[in-house]
């Protein structure tokens, strides 16, 4: 194993290695050639040149459109949307062009794109640097949606997107960028898309989560163990479309009690689909309703610190709800 790297470094490494590996790989986005706000693309321009690390005009639709078009002649594009809050101008391209081009041409046109974007709150970003918006894309057949929570998964999943044949949205939670570190193998590795992972074994109840929710859930699980002797299993979805139904139902059948934890707003958040799916497929295994522990139904998220705190999930908030679940 190499040395411990941060989440953002893992992403940066993945791109460096894949740029080396595939001469057709390029990246297009705003403010990337200098490394970007979070240094995700640090060193790429210096090493691979500005014809492969391309600063785009301030125009999210054509970032996606140009990448998609370029993929039709065999290029391998990464489109960076600086913040997922600014993905809305590209909605038309993503939903109508990217997601449907393969389908509407009966597979004769084969778009391939990795759309990297950063998301999530709790970093003082306010209403326009804290959004998730992942739910919209989970709804769209033709897209795959990846949302890693650890450096290992971040690196392995990004490589899978870049090497894959489909159209991917890849979410990076800002709060993870420098807060989690992990030793990564020196050797090349990938993480399969569409597979969840049990990140903590447990037997009394299950927490299904992803992204920053994983950190919060693991901390909450520790507290539940320490405080109540309740053993929590924590499942990291890693991919939000397609959902890993098998893994989800597996943990439900094991513990019979399940909570979904995410930062995104409650109504029509990712938890809605997961909860619907579980009760549909494992109704008789449930000893309690599937619980959704999520952000509130207000714009994500107001700036002033007490308002931001109100919005954010944290271990204590999760524990308070899990206590109810355990007692149901």
């Amino acid at each position: 194993m190499g040395q411990a790297v941060t989440f953002i470094k893992a992403i940066n490494q993945a791109m460096h290695e894949e740029f080396e590996r595939d001469p057709n790989l390029f990246i297009l986005g705003e403010d990337i050639a200098e490394g970007g706000v979070f240094l995700a693309t640090e060193g790429l321009r210096e090493k691979f040149g500005e014809h492969r690390v391309v600063d785009s005009p301030l125009a999210e639709a054509i970032i996606v459109g140009a990448c998609t078009g370029a993929s039709l002649v065999g290029m391998n594009p990464i489109a960076e949307i600086q913040f997922v809050d600014f993905i809305t101008p590209a909605m038309d391209q993503i939903v109508q062009n990217v997601a449907k081009l393969r389908y509407r041409s009966a597979g004769t046109f084969q778009p391939h794109i990795t759309i990297r974007t950063c998301c999530g709150g709790g970093v003082g970003g306010g209403l326009f640097h804290s959004q998730d918006n992942v739910s919209w894309f989970m709804h769209e057949a033709g897209l795959k949606v990846v949302y890693p929570a650890t450096p290992y998964d971040a690196k392995g999943l990004l490589k899978s997107c870049i090497r894959g044949k489909d159209c991917y949205l890849y979410f990076e939670h800002k709060k993870l960028y420098r807060s989690v570190k992990e030793e990564l193998p020196d050797d090349d590795f990938t993480v399969p898309i569409g597979k969840a992972a049990v990140k903590r074994e447990g037997k009394d109840l299950s927490i299904i989560t992803f992204g920053y929710g994983l950190q919060v859930s693991l901390a909450a699980a520790e507290k539940m163990e320490a405080k109540h002797g309740v053993s929590c299993e924590v499942v990291d979805l890693r991919t939000l479309r397609p959902l890993d139904t098998e893994a989800i139902l597996g943990t439900v059948r094991k513990t019979n009690r399940v909570a979904i934890v995410h930062e995104e707003k409650l109504t029509m958040g990712p938890g809605a689909e997961v909860a619907a799916l579980i009760q549909e497929n494992a109704f008789d295994d449930l000893d309690a309703p599937v619980m959704r522990i999520t952000g509130p139904d207000i714009p994500k998220m107001p700036f002033s610190p007490p308002l931001e705190d109100y919005f954010m999930i944290n271990p204590d908030k999760v524990v308070a709800r899990l206590e109810q679940l355990a007692a149901y």
Binding site: I62, G65, A106, G107
Partner: protein, 363 residues
């Protein structure tokens, strides 16, 4: 004029008078706003090329008219967007292009495939949403695409093709290839954000794009005066740092000449060109639109500028014309279309199970 700061040689474009910009009858407000035809003077085309161009023009017309007929006969479902009246914009720009050049058609550009050399069977099959269609019935009729001929399958969302084609050109440039990209759109499309972002991007990267705006004065029932206050749509080009040219879109040789220079620039890596073709759709926006919003006089005036007899006149002037030849090719084309229709009618709809195919490349 947008070409001002990007001085070019195309005399045709400069001579072009502007058709009326409001929804008043053209005839009333500005009679005979047809540009002096380029009629070949500066265009060096050999006889067989000119005859081939006429053949293609006629074929576009016949294929399009047959498609309309088939729709009205209830032979296929959905809808159809006729390009009748606008065919010179397709033939003039695409004539002589490479099979490997890319085309991004919009909803009204099915006949671009005719010029690109796609067999008529494939085109008619697309209307019938049958398994012999390149899209196996996934998309609506007239949204013809063909991966074999590098014709991107249109999406209904206006300017989608503009974005994709720009991306293709970006990819080709990164690969150092000199294949180029043609994109087509209407006057309405120029108002979209997608169009703006793509055109601007092509300007920045000097992409090999030939952008063809078919200004037919209407976007559905919306007249040009409510679409844009620009003097010409080509005036937009300067804002993207590219040449903008206005041309009589019903004058085949004029379009051809303007397109040649745009093609030369694109292939040479000198960047994109925006060509505004002043033209007109003879029929409604689609076959279900009676188009009552257009004054009769305007329609009549434009029908007089029909590109087909105008080009016939050129051939006559040069002594290349023969009525027999016309009859012969007309019959040939008709036979080809008849065959295609028979072929499509025999082809079955896809099995329902195909509905779940092609969503992803990897399950």
């Amino acid at each position: 004029m947008a070409t001002k700061s990007n001085a070019r040689t195309a005399t045709v474009a400069k001579k072009e008078a502007r058709p009326p910009r409001n929804d008043k009858p053209a005839a009333a407000s500005q009679p005979a706003a047809v540009a002096a035809s380029a009629s070949g003077a500066s265009v060096e085309l050999k006889k067989d090329q000119l005859l081939e161009m006429y053949y293609l023009l006629l074929k576009c017309r016949q294929v399009d008219e047959r498609a309309r007929l088939l729709f009205r006969q209830g032979k296929f479902k959905g809808n159809f967007y006729s390009a009748v009246g606008q065919e010179a914009t397709h033939v003039g720009t695409l004539y002589g292009c490479r099979k490997t050049d890319w085309v991004g058609p919009s909803h009204r550009d099915m006949v671009a495939a005719v010029v690109k050399g796609v067999p008529t069977r494939r085109i008619i099959a697309q209307l019938y949403a049958c398994v012999e269609s390149p899209d196996r019935g996934k998309s609506t009729p007239a949204h013809f695409g063909d991966a074999e001929y590098n014709i991107i399958i249109p999406s209904s969302t206006i300017a989608a093709q503009w974005q994709l084609v720009t991306g293709v050109a970006f990819g080709l440039k990164m690969q150092g290839k000199d294949d180029i990209c043609f994109a087509y759109c209407g006057d309405g499309a120029t108002s979209t954000g997608a169009w703006h972002e793509a055109t601007n991007f092509a300007g920045v990267h000097k992409l090999g794009c030939v952008y063809v705006v078919q200004n037919n004065l209407w976007a559905e029932s919306v007249p040009l005066r409510l679409q844009s206050a620009a003097k010409t749509l080509a005036d937009k080009a300067a804002g993207y740092g590219m040449p903008g040219v206005v041309v009589d879109g019903n004058d085949l040789l004029a379009v051809y000449q303007v397109a040649r220079e745009a093609i030369r620039r694109a292939r040479a890596g000198e960047g994109p060109t925006l060509i505004e073709c002043k033209t007109y759709r003879w029929y409604g926006h689609s076959e279900i639109d009676p188009a009552k919003y257009r004054p009769k006089e305007e329609v009549e005036e434009w029908k007089k500028r029909d590109p087909v007899p105008r080009f016939e006149k050129v051939l006559r002037e040069r002594g290349y014309w023969s009525d027999d030849w016309k009859k012969k090719i007309e019959a040939e084309i008709k036979a080809e279309i008849d065959d295609a229709v028979a072929f499509a009618e025999k082809s079955p709809y896809p099995d329902p199970s195909e509905a779940t195919q092609h969503v992803y490349a990897e399950e």
